[in-house]
Symmetry: C2
Subunit: 379 residues, 2 copies
């Protein structure tokens, strides 16, 4: 699917524009892409014939002239599968071309043995495919130094892998040739870029709060992948030099304040209630329990400082907050905003912060978007 029709460069750009920016008339697409209307007519013709695009019913008419005929990508024309690997579980989703989730599943990882993981991923792909048509591409995301295009995972700390050709192995196990592997935060960033709060912004950052801290960047409409080095390593950013030590020997890393584990541990030990869950800690702080409240304020300050630093260096105007533990923001928005303002340069316009409610399948959805982008853009 999706590339057997020999997509040319112009067709790709029109297709992406329609995919990302919803139904558009040919004239509107021409304006956006800086093309002539006739070019759009010619470029969309084969895409319509092949069923990638659909004529939309004409919408509201309050303008002059001939009504526009909106075009839209047929989201059901192809399917994607995205898989997120964690230390002990696998999440997988099947989505349509607009990355809307159709089915999802989660499954425990029995071991970190490469063959076991590949078998588990293959089984998930089979189950999600069912009797339907096979997906156009499979994306796999995981923490570590994986980087799009390269099907080899250079290092995965939590799985203990080095130079594992994961993409090729899954392709062989499933018979689906297009398997792409990518860092999990970058995958989430890609999903926001095309189908989330990043739409319409040529540059933005995504900061994730969860087991750790992460940061993805889009600059000039391109996902920043880094050259050899990973990107978005904000977890060890220094916040207070009087804080606790982290495993790298720093004092007061951001992750010592703002990860879900750090918040839970701090509240649980301070209140001597080792059974407290992370959510319970947030609830305590929301109710006004002083220690919990203070710990979350400190977390909010740390997160605000991280976001400000990212924005100060890269110049992004929009920062999206996401991740499993992003609910912490609601409890400490005041402290966060104050820290963000304090660390933001006064000559700059304020930063737009968008908080994205998070479900765990978002990780897998991000992997599906990476697969989609790779399939369409070839990178």
């Amino acid at each position: 699917m999706l590339s057997e029709a020999h997509l040319t460069e112009g067709m790709r750009s029109v297709f992406v524009e329609l995919l990302v920016h919803g139904p558009l008339s040919r004239a509107e697409a021409a304006r956006r892409l800086d093309l002539s209307p006739s070019a759009v007519t010619k470029l969309t013709k084969p895409l319509l014939q092949d069923g990638y695009l659909l004529q939309q019913p004409v919408g509201d008419r309050n303008a002059m002239g001939r009504p526009s005929q909106p075009l839209a990508v047929d989201p059901a024309r192809a399917a994607l599968i995205g898989v997120k690997l964690t230390e002990d579980e696998l999440f997988a989703v099947r989505t349509d071309l607009r990355a809307e989730i159709q089915r999802e599943l989660r499954r425990p990882l029995i071991s970190h043995d490469v063959d076991d993981v590949v078998a588990c991923v293959g089984e998930a792909v089979r189950d999600l495919t069912g009797s339907g048509k096979p997906p156009a591409a499979v994306g796999i995301s995981l923490a570590g130094t994986a980087s799009g295009g390269d099907p080899v995972v250079p290092t995965s700390p939590f799985l203990g892998w080095r130079n594992v050709p994961l993409g090729g192995l899954v392709a062989a196990a499933t018979g689906i040739p297009a398997v792409v592997v990518e860092n999990d935060v970058r995958a989430l960033t890609a999903a926001q870029q095309w189908f989330g709060a990043g739409v319409g912004h040529s540059s933005f950052a995504l900061v994730t709060v969860g087991a750790g801290l992460g940061c993805g960047l889009v600059i000039g409409d391109r996902l920043v992948r880094g050259a050899g080095r990973g990107t978005g390593l904000v977890g060890h950013m220094s916040i207070h030099d009087s804080g606790p030590l982290c495993e790298m020997g720093h004092r007061g890393c951001a992750r010592a304040y703002v990860s879900s584990a750090a918040i839970r541990r701090a509240v649980a030990t301070t209140l001597d209630r080792p059974d407290l869950t992370f959510e319970a800690c947030l609830a305590l702080a929301a109710e006004g329990q002083p220690a919990a409240r203070r710990i979350l304020e400190e977390a909010g300050e740390a997160l605000g400082q991280v976001v400000a630093t990212v924005a100060n260096i890269t110049g992004v105007q929009l920062v999206i907050l996401s991740g499993e533990a992003v609910a912490m923001y609601d409890v400490c928005a005041g402290a966060f905003d104050a820290a963000l303002a304090a660390h933001t340069h006064w000559t700059s316009t304020p930063i737009d912060v968008v908080v994205k409610p998070f479900t765990f399948s978002e990780w897998a959805r991000g992997a599906a978007v990476i697969a989609l982008q790779h399939r369409i853009l070839g990178r």
Copy 2:
């Protein structure tokens, strides 16, 4: 000059490739640009006729086959003028197309009045032009939120300007239509991108040490300009929360440790020798004076942490150090390297740090390169 000949997109890319990567044979240029050899022949023909390119004498022959005929940009085909504005002085250079400085001058700024500054810039441009041909473009760089393409300076704290249409005023005063205004650190970054240590790297960062700290970014072969907000605001990055206050109310900002003024002040007050210059402080530290040595070690640590943070967020592999006070690096390389290593993630490859000896005219040279890039690339 330089664009009257109606440069097409293909010609531009060949021209830039030859300008930046020195003399290249047609075949080599074709390989680098992913073009066919015949395309390069056709694209270079009009450039050769118009004198923008020169046939180089054939070099060493140790390969098989027909000897290649290197092509190079004629650096004398056009001239650029770059101007750097500071609070009380103006530096200006006239360069050739490869940004080699031909003449330079410095001049005091009598006032911060816009007309006075424009007159002073105009006079400098006239003096540097002399009886020669007028420059193809003029670039002006200054600290603040100026951003390429836009000839208006939104804010300049040290000049007290807001929304000054500097580019247009200088264009009117000099009769040279192409006047480009840009942030000074970005201009320096552009110079490194095309004619410095950044050549051959698609992504790198430049960190400047001087009156303050600055940071410029090139990601994916493009100079990062930021969207509305400035980039590279690393001066207020938090290093120690027990340090001195800065004017924004932070404790232990990077600029409190690593700017030339901060280092000088720290050494001078500690040793109770208010007359000490910055250079003298470096000399004392190099000789082993304990207090000066310690102060410079702390500066090196802070700078190392700044560089590590920039690289961790953006994923650049190369960081160039520059600026008026970059000589401090030689005195504290050990502390810098240790801090850099400590704050760099272990899963990443080490960062290449290149120290660029700095003269003040480099600022103005950067402005010339901005003018050149704008003239050629149209951005």
